[in-house]
Symmetry: C2
Subunit: 669 residues, 2 copies
Amino acid sequence: MHATAAPSPKPTLPKKGPALIERVTPTVEGGRHAAKRIVGDTLTVEADIFRDGHASLRALLRLTDPAGTIREVPMRPMLEHGIPLSAATQDRWRAQIALDVVGMHHFEIEAYTDHYGSWLRDLGKKVAAKRDVKSDRLEGHELVTRTAEALSQAGRRDEAAELRRYATLMQLAPDDAAAVTIASEAALVELMARVGDRPDIERSAAFPLYVDRELAAFSAWYELFPRSQGEKKGEHGTFRSAAKRLPEIADLGFDIVYLPPIHPIGKVNRKGRNNSLTSEPGEPGSPWAIGSVEGGHDAIDPRLGTIADFDAFVATARRLKLEIALDFAIQCAPDHPWVTQHPDWFFRRPDGSIKYAENPPKEYQDVYSVNFDTPDVEALIVALGDVLRFWLEHGVTVFRVDNPHTKPLYVWERLIAELQAQDPNVLFLAEAFTRPKMMRALGKVGFSQSYTYFTWRTTKYEIVEYMTELVGEMNDFYRPNFWVNTPDILPKMLQTSSPAAFKQRFVLAATLSPSYGVYSGYELNEGAALPDSEEYLHSEKYELKFRDYDAPGNLKAFIARINTIRRENPALHRLVPIEFVWTESEHILAYARSNADKSNVILVVVNLDPIAEHHGRCYVAPEVVGVQPGERYTVNDLLSGQHYEWGQDNYVALDPNDEPAHIFRIERR
Amino acid sequence: MHATAAPSPKPTLPKKGPALIERVTPTVEGGRHAAKRIVGDTLTVEADIFRDGHASLRALLRLTDPAGTIREVPMRPMLEHGIPLSAATQDRWRAQIALDVVGMHHFEIEAYTDHYGSWLRDLGKKVAAKRDVKSDRLEGHELVTRTAEALSQAGRRDEAAELRRYATLMQLAPDDAAAVTIASEAALVELMARVGDRPDIERSAAFPLYVDRELAAFSAWYELFPRSQGEKKGEHGTFRSAAKRLPEIADLGFDIVYLPPIHPIGKVNRKGRNNSLTSEPGEPGSPWAIGSVEGGHDAIDPRLGTIADFDAFVATARRLKLEIALDFAIQCAPDHPWVTQHPDWFFRRPDGSIKYAENPPKEYQDVYSVNFDTPDVEALIVALGDVLRFWLEHGVTVFRVDNPHTKPLYVWERLIAELQAQDPNVLFLAEAFTRPKMMRALGKVGFSQSYTYFTWRTTKYEIVEYMTELVGEMNDFYRPNFWVNTPDILPKMLQTSSPAAFKQRFVLAATLSPSYGVYSGYELNEGAALPDSEEYLHSEKYELKFRDYDAPGNLKAFIARINTIRRENPALHRLVPIEFVWTESEHILAYARSNADKSNVILVVVNLDPIAEHHGRCYVAPEVVGVQPGERYTVNDLLSGQHYEWGQDNYVALDPNDEPAHIFRIERR
């Protein structure tokens, strides 16, 4: 502890104004970051709005779109939205507005005293109490004529004339009750609210809101190493050969094909198969060891083809309504051109040599980490932005960012803002499996989607708890993408290669989250792992894989069916709402999803045990599936095609060797 | 809706720096308002603090007191405070610091990368994994010598020499393990943390924190109309006669004597007894109808005496360790001097006359409301501040503000800040019984204490729910003061004049809340009300009351005993912690309170039914009363003096006609 003499900061005094606007939603860190929404959806904004005394308020929501176009809609107290009064809903206001354009928006709230409305309300109460209201009537008359006068001066003659007509009627009213009737006419009240003086307007901050395209919310990803798409075993795949697999991927119902890095692979310290420290001649190395004399982050591995081949691959994908997601990994092989061009962008040892990446005791000898503490950081960030812009110009509209949590957050905030300013449709997926607060922070700085802990959430308790966390305040800034596997993660449950396990996890990923992903081989129940590890045996990260995608037992029909169900049912297009349903068995998980107007309700029932049959009761509260209490309804299993009659108390049995799940659509009579 | 063309605001880009500091507590509205604490207490500050990558962080809390003196203490991860790891506590840091001076403080958090600590941690991991650490050892040596060099240049020769000594030892270490041992020496680690370079420091905002004196937290109030303290029936009391009651009030254990307005009372439209619209000659009128030809808010009603008499009254109170709280009601009788001096400070009718106060259909003919929308508002606010300063200079250190919710919040924020800048010990009590969000807002803008809904919370469910709300986030800015009655509120339960009801509500107020109040007559079980109303019959607001404070059945001994128990038991000096204890009977409420080190634990058990005996089991979890599982302990009833042996499962029976409550002190063997 030490003491210094410094003046204490003065308390900030507020600006004058009676209204308070607090607890605005959706906001992230008080407006420091943008909340996220989807184009076509309705934005609901709420705030606590109140003032001293008894006067009534009016409030409006003002939404500014990326082009600067402003729309205003009135906010109304929750009670007027049909929401019952409570300590939480009293003095809480809401407005809703459709989102019709992609990009960065801002919204603000204005609140002001409703002088005419307050006067009218008080007049009504006094007349009902049979008070003398002569003076009150004069006051109202004055309010209306003064407003007419102001409109007149502003050249708004029609509105002024309309108000003067009402003022005269109010004056001529034969009695007080008649005056109240005239003063309450909806057209007059609306006109006064719209044009009346707002001397005491209070404005909230302008809160940022990023409106993404639909794909940001609802997407099925397929991860593919193009080099493994050779036409026969041992042959290095190319963009030309890989393009031949795109129709099948489109037919399976995927939206995005994600490619690990496609750049030249370092030759120095190249890793061999199964992460061996040395490689045999001809071994391809890890695609994440980016860069060689053949080029860096803006080059194509010559074995995959040319940039023209890549462009053709993207064009083929586009014709099939597939988008290409590219990996963006900020790290360099020792022979990456940047290492000699910009040695200051890397970490140095005391002897002047450059340090390879490490997370002690783990070591990554084939890559160098980038040093964002370099004095040359501005040039580094510009170069990284240039890489993203290069690929954007070559048709890449989605970036899957490798380990973003090991780079400063401000770098992401800047790069994402820059790229989305150029093309608001561009999406970023954060591949971070780190501590919860950093996962959230990446969502806040702008990542459109994020990898999650789903892979390690397998029991009923774990899944319900995790979903509850995701659909809470995180839902405003963090869009989960549930991956069933990745080249780095072969979960224990899948290491038996049991198709029941593969199906179960697939159904969960594809129906718990509107965005999910699979890494190729999943459809073939590939489950061979390194011992005591979640790493694949003979990992594709270090060697070519040649697969027979039509091998017996493949899950392609199952996957295609689920993706069709997803596309056909809007209930599965958003993360919220999700309602977990009570089931008797600890092994059976059930949840209902619905779209905004509850016209589409999907009830998913999954046996979480890949080995044994489980059964038991399943209680479905009527409101969860949008039926009346006591109402019977049909559940149509979109997987098996079977129909059942359900109500509140039901019985389910699921044998994983048959089918591990029901995906019921609720059909009311 | 309308559209205009305006540029969309640019997203704010963050400053560069790896550390994030989020979710800082205690803060109110993101630092817009001051959190509240008490001098002598320990301030606990917490924040989420994290950065990208694997480097470790250090963080410190910097507290600036009103004189500008700065103290710094290190923040530590929750785990190091003995708090288990969870998603919520991971990356959460805490610091604690004693508060030793009253007034406006500010605190900020600094976080920065711990380069030496990160290097040392990695070195240890690598040595354990038997890696070659030659380069790493050189790196550490360089870190220490570079820091020594910087210290040297700054003239800090001793610290530089100490670092150089360590650097040499590290170099000379015979093997890697020995190098780790030397590099880990606590003195070196501490020195490097304290003096090391902090190139990437991140600072939070400076958050305001108001430190009040003890009385703000812990206070027993007694409300008294001096004019009713005549020496015989019908005689108008004076400050001289009222001073004679002060020793008794001090003996009863009260801290604050609160006086309704003591100013000249308007003669125009003066109210008569029982709120009659007309008064008979000689009727005193309502003290809240402030001002007449005899003066306004800075004058004394001549019937009470002179300002010298008031000063003497305050001096007598001070000798008895009582403080005087004065009512501050911003409203004027029609004959208040301000009405003629500043007619613009009031609301006018169209005919130019001034409007009396109303809240339709209610009317207050004897007072004019003040108009804060006047263009002359600055002069009005200055005049109000002058009134407060006038009474502060006459020894009033506590203001009870009448209906603050009908005046703009910015006025309170400014007036309270001005007065507390002059005397940081001055306290303000908000008398608002309005909607929840305005109640909270008054606490946020600076009121030291607030009236509450306690008066209407009578069932077990209501009390537990309300207390749970108060001890949550509100505890940082809203200090409840539980009043058992006021001149405006005679709760239904007390209208039977049953001493059991009066005792029960008194125990609840005095032990649920560290601050509470009673309005005189309570000790005499006064319960006569206007029909269908919470108003007193023959309300003291409109007439003099002459009471025999020694009347049989009075509660003075009971009140004195409770106040003694309150003073003797620190467990009752703060609002938190409170732990509600399960009891079998719906009519029996039980709760435990304790001080910070659990050396004082009070368990209160109250029968909420003022008529019938209730009994049943009462389970006390060991941690609630600070004992070991299975441990038996003595509960000493501080009301009856009886002792019982208790454990986890107990039996209680309370007959309200005997005593409606136990106030147990836990006494461990």
